[in-house]
Symmetry: C2
Subunit: 327 residues, 2 copies
């Protein structure tokens, strides 16, 4: 039986949804749902295309009470910049949770992933960072470095920003852009200064060796590590994870195979405990930061629940946007 499928492009999506507090609240609710234990979220499907220096991940989750569920496909092809193309791409599909029919195809080139990922950083900052942040730091200089700092500024309006990147010119450009956009002071610095002088740090790199060392931790620091999303990636030294007063996963089962927890376990650390999940802290079933001097770390690998939440949210805003195809 033929039915209408809406096909929406990145440009059409950018016109109706942005990284704002409403988006942060939508993603926060998805984390709370995850903590309920009623969300169905299978392991990520992951395929490597070694010949093309590429990989593709597929994520999904069913959140009870939601009318739809998303399936999100994220290809990463790391030689694309040589062709003038971005490394990351993909699309998201929203299905009816009652009939399984395809409702909307979001040809978003990864835009919805970008904002739901940044929004998760804001959720972590809201629940784990100190209430007052003067200086924020970011390690990495790409799209997520910018979006994570914009998201953090929504919930913790810092006045000073420190940016570290391996390429100093890129770090300066990132700092200048964010200074102008957020109306704050910003500088490019070395990694150690970035961490030591900030109260809130986000790491956004594909590093395979830690970019944050344990002896840089200081009272009151919160770190969100969002770069690791594949086995072998590692941004935070295992000893830092072990030294933190509170280490939180978005999903333990994902962090132990593709997040910071993987390297910690490989180093024989954090073997004796199951870390709390961000959703438990959002839902209030596990304490978050309990005083201003604690060191907290949040490990984000990205969840299908965020994809279902952002796709469902956007679908309510589309009005007539997109192309209807009678399928």
């Amino acid at each position: 039986m033929a039915h209408d499928v809406r096909v929406v492009t990145e440009a059409e999506l950018r016109a109706v949804v942005a990284l704002d507090l409403e988006t942060v609240d939508v993603i926060e609710a998805a984390f709370a749902a995850l903590a309920s234990g009623r969300v169905v979220m299978p392991p990520i499907l992951s395929m490597e295309l070694a010949e093309a220096n590429g990989e593709v991940d597929v994520k999904t989750a069913y959140i009870p009470g939601f009318d739809g569920f998303a399936i999100k496909v994220s290809p990463g092809f790391f030689d694309n910049p040589l062709l003038g193309l971005p490394s990351l791409n993909g699309l998201m599909i929203l299905f009816s949770a009652k009939t399984g029919l395809v409702e909307t195809v979001f040809l978003d080139n990864g835009y919805l992933t970008d904002i739901r990922t940044a929004a998760a950083g804001a959720v972590a900052a809201r629940h784990l960072a100190r209430s007052e942040i003067e200086t924020a730091g970011v390690i990495g200089t790409g799209v997520q470095a910018r979006l994570q700092m914009k998201a953090a500024h929504l919930v913790r309006p810092f006045s000073r920003l420190l940016v570290h990147g391996r390429d100093a010119a890129k770090a300066r450009a990132c700092a200048e852009e964010l200074a102008a956009e957020l109306g704050i002071e910003a500088d490019a610095v070395d990694a150690e200064t970035c961490v030591r002088e900030s109260q809130l740090v986000v790491t956004t790199t594909p590093a395979r060796d830690p970019v944050v060392h344990a002896d840089w931790l200081h009272p009151g620091l919160h770190i969100t590590a969002m770069g690791s999303d594949q086995a072998g990636k590692n941004e935070i030294a295992p000893e830092a994870l072990a030294a933190a007063d509170l280490y939180v996963c978005d999903r333990v089962s994902q962090c132990e195979v593709s997040g910071e927890l993987e390297a910690a376990h490989a180093a024989g650390l954090l073997m004796d405990r199951t870390p709390p999940e961000l959703g438990e802290i959002v839902a209030g079933t596990h304490p978050g930061r309990t005083d201003a001097t604690q060191v907290t770390i949040c490990d984000l690998t990205g969840t299908g629940a965020q994809d279902t939440a952002i796709a469902s949210h956007v679908s309510t805003r589309l009005s007539g946007a997109g192309t209807l195809v009678r399928a």
Copy 2:
């Protein structure tokens, strides 16, 4: 960077691709590629939506030498017929294997899955059934029962068909339809007669208890079991699998968790051997049927390699079909 994505509907696909010998050859080549060991085919992503009596599977595979790879989403929502909707649905997406960019979205409602699944049945019949088939039998009366018999008739042009279904009226309707379409004699019969009087049988049911018993096997019989695709499903009695001269999987790693091999292992049978895969027989690296009196069984769970093969094949036939969306 914006690029054109082609969106193609089921009706547009039906106009350019059908279940024919060319399609069978395309799927046969995919099986041969699987046997090469160079295909990358991750485990199926599977999610249950118990509240809606639904499930969704995602399959993919990268076949070296192919310009694209498909990701296929198959929702099955088994209360849909109460709403006047088919249970099975879904879509397929073809990505560039060089850049990961989305090239084509096939809003096929499962049509490409239907024909690539039936084509796999023809590949099994071509390599495992006797060269001369007088009577073919099918258990089940749905879309795949019809397509499997049409596919089998392409490679083994039988003159008599026996159909068994739990609903005798549906079995008669299926037999009449296929008799008219294939120009053969066809009758609705009980399951035992269907198996005992046929040289080629295909089972197409969602059975959780065997519909084919071991004492019905007879010299020269070939059975293709294509219904089981989830844990707990089981069409062929484990004793029949053990008694066959040759038992072949489409993919051993899938059959042992969601095919006939799962029930056989649960019964303590076939524990001492790794069955050959259909691709090895197609490629000639494992013998198929070696004489007309052997009993052979092929277990099809459905592979991502078939999806990549059919999507790549169809994409060469589209010419200007579909809607171009600048994404």
